[in-house]
């Protein structure tokens, strides 16, 4: 196996200074959500660890995660793809195509067996033997199983590969499902989101690249440093929630003043992501900041929890459960009142009968 260069060697080759290398390492350390105590370990890893081979495959999805990924600002997606990882195969970013491209995948799998990182975007289409999602003449399921076999670690990018995605919404005609059951028990780190935050995507792959291990994950397999908190608990609009200052419609004074979007169905209180602290596009904004309530895109099954603009499910003309519950309450009260009257009548009839018996 040929020698693969490390991040430091890649910097040297491109004529960057030691200073800019160290600066890059500082940026990486904070991006991976690590404490600055870890800085020396990051530098050490960047100097010595060969760039990891990455195979990046796309299944049942819209490739929106890639659209997010290529907008990563720190590190730049181009820096990650061209000098931080050895990206051998990528459906979307590769210039090559056709039979030679597919042959290269087989070569890469064989050559780096047990060493490469498999990044998966998109769900598995399980119905009809998987024909709803084809790749290189085979089903995506086939490709995923083949590529997962020799992978050292698997990163599931996006809510599709983590949980099935919006195409898994009821009635889920393609049987779309997360990849976890199709990778033969290999460790999977889930990076959900529709799409995930770009810096979260690069941060996770850099963590795996530099330390050769998956980042610490929660019980659902999501990296704790990015998915450990609710958006609600990190949201800059939280004081408005606590105070009871809410936007009631999308165009009222509260919405204009930037008050809490809870009453417009914001899913921040149920959603684990870094939107509140990391935000998007180098910290420029995130949905809530731009006045759109969170839809919980990094949650499993968020697609079935409609409507996104209300806290409770609606049942057509019946309204939500509060309306139905109040109506049932009134009905029950009326029912017991009727029952009371009927009970009294029944008792009086019975007593009359007894009285008549008595007189005879």
């Amino acid at each position: 196996m040929e020698k693969r260069e490390s991040l430091w060697e890649a910097y040297l080759r491109r004529g960057f200074s030691r200073r800019s290398f160290l600066k890059g390492c500082v940026a990486l350390t904070s991006l991976m959500g690590l404490s600055t105590d870890m800085f020396s370990k990051v530098v050490e890893a960047a100097e010595t660890k060969p760039l990891p081979v990455v195979i990046w495959i796309h299944g049942h999805e819209c490739t929106g995660c890639d659209e997010s990924f290529i907008r990563s600002g720190a590190p730049l997606a181009s820096d990650v793809v061209l000098s931080s990882i050895a990206l051998e195969y990528d459906h979307l970013l590769s210039a090559a195509c056709g039979a030679p491209f597919e042959a290269h995948l087989d070569e890469t799998i064989a050559k780096y067996n047990g060493q490469y990182i498999l990044a998966v975007e998109g769900a598995v289409a399980t119905k009809a033997s998987g024909v709803y999602c084809m790749s290189g003449g085979h089903t995506f399921t086939h490709l995923l199983e083949k590529a997962a076999k020799g992978a050292a670690a698997i990163i599931a990018y996006g809510s599709c590969s983590a949980y099935g995605g919006i195409q898994a919404a009821k009635p889920n005609p393609t049987g779309s499902a997360g990849i976890e059951r199709f990778v033969g028990g290999k460790p999977v780190v889930k990076v959900p989101g529709c799409p995930p935050i770009p810096e979260v995507m690069t941060g996770v792959v850099m963590h795996v690249a530099l330390f050769g291990s998956l980042p610490p994950v929660d019980s659902d397999g999501r990296p704790k440093q990015f998915y450990g908190n609710r958006i609600h608990d990190t949201c800059y609009r939280r004081p408005f929630f606590d105070a009871g200052m809410f936007a009631e419609t999308f165009d009222d004074a509260g919405a204009k003043a930037g008050w809490c979007l809870y009453k417009l169905g914001c899913r921040g209180p149920e959603t684990y992501n870094s939107c509140g602290n990391l935000r998007w596009w180098q910290g420029m904004s995130y949905p809530i900041q731009s006045g759109a309530p969170c839809i919980g895109c990094s949650n499993a099954k968020f697609w079935d929890e409609d409507p996104f603009t209300a806290r409770l499910p609606q049942y057509g003309k019946l309204g939500d459960v509060d309306k139905i519950g109040a109506a049932l309450g009134v009905l029950t009260a009326a029912g017991v009142a009727g029952h009371a009257v009927a009970s009294v009548i029944q008792r009086n009839q019975r007593e009359n009968l007894i009285d008549e018996d008595h007189h005879e």
Partner: protein, 232 residues
């Protein structure tokens, strides 16, 4: 010469409700009302408006804190209730569903309540009512589990978070826990309406001292209930 408002009737006292049970009952009544009202306000909060958070009354924060405090009080009193059940032979948590006559007696009482039978055999512990209390405990358990599963997820990595985190996984998503918590609250209120009516009805229609027994612990009855021997 008898005064009309004074009856000379021989009655027996049956002591069935220990203080643990009675105190729990009334705490539960108060807490269910508090939890229900604050819960509705949490789902659909009042909009206090204002100019900025620093100058408002923290109404949402206050409503949530009252909800959480009431929930903790209810859980504490439930634990006391279970403790009372363990140390008092007379207290029951669940009906004796393993005894066959429970079912036939439940059917008999149900037929009477459907006005199909003129009367049912008198009980100290009405089997149909006991069945509904078992249902109430199930509903309370669902509220407690989903409630803590949401409350503790402010820090999922904490040890208490791990104890209740599985509930969200079991029902699918954390949003589903919110939905279930809210829907079950309505069922508890529907139960409360029915329970209130049935107790008052038993007092006036069937000569049971149902209402006063939850204060005194005793049922003072002129008739002999069918399950009187279960007190021994």
């Amino acid at each position: 010469m008898a005064i009309k408002s004074v009856k000379d009737v021989k009655r027996k006292e049956y002591y069935i409700f220990s203080p643990f049970l009675r105190i729990f009952h009334w705490i539960m009544v108060a807490m269910i009302l508090v939890l229900f009202v604050t819960g509705l306000l949490i789902t659909k909060p009042m909009n206090v408006g204002g100019t900025e958070p620093a100058f408002t009354s923290l109404s949402m924060d206050l409503v949530r804190d009252i909800h959480f405090l009431a929930a903790f009080i209810l859980c504490a009193s439930l634990i006391m209730r279970i403790y009372g059940f363990i140390i008092n032979k007379g207290d029951r948590l669940f009906p004796r569903v393993w005894e066959g006559h429970f079912y036939s007696e439940t059917v008999e009482v149900a037929l009477h309540y459907m006005l199909l039978k003129p009367h049912h055999a008198p009980f100290l512990r009405n089997p149909l009512a006991r069945g509904s209390y078992a249902m109430l405990y199930v509903l309370l358990a669902i509220e407690i589990l989903t409630g803590f599963a949401m409350y503790l997820m402010a820090n999922p990595a904490s040890s208490f978070g791990k104890i209740f985190g599985w509930v969200n996984t079991l029902v699918g998503t954390e949003m589903m826990s919110h939905y279930i918590h809210h829907y079950v609250a309505w069922f508890i209120i529907l139960f409360a309406i029915g329970h209130f009516y049935m107790v008052v009805r038993a007092e006036f229609m069937e000569g049971e001292s149902e209402v006063s027994s939850m204060f005194s612990g005793k049922k003072v009855l002129a008739h002999t209930p069918k399950d009187a021997n279960e007190l021994d």
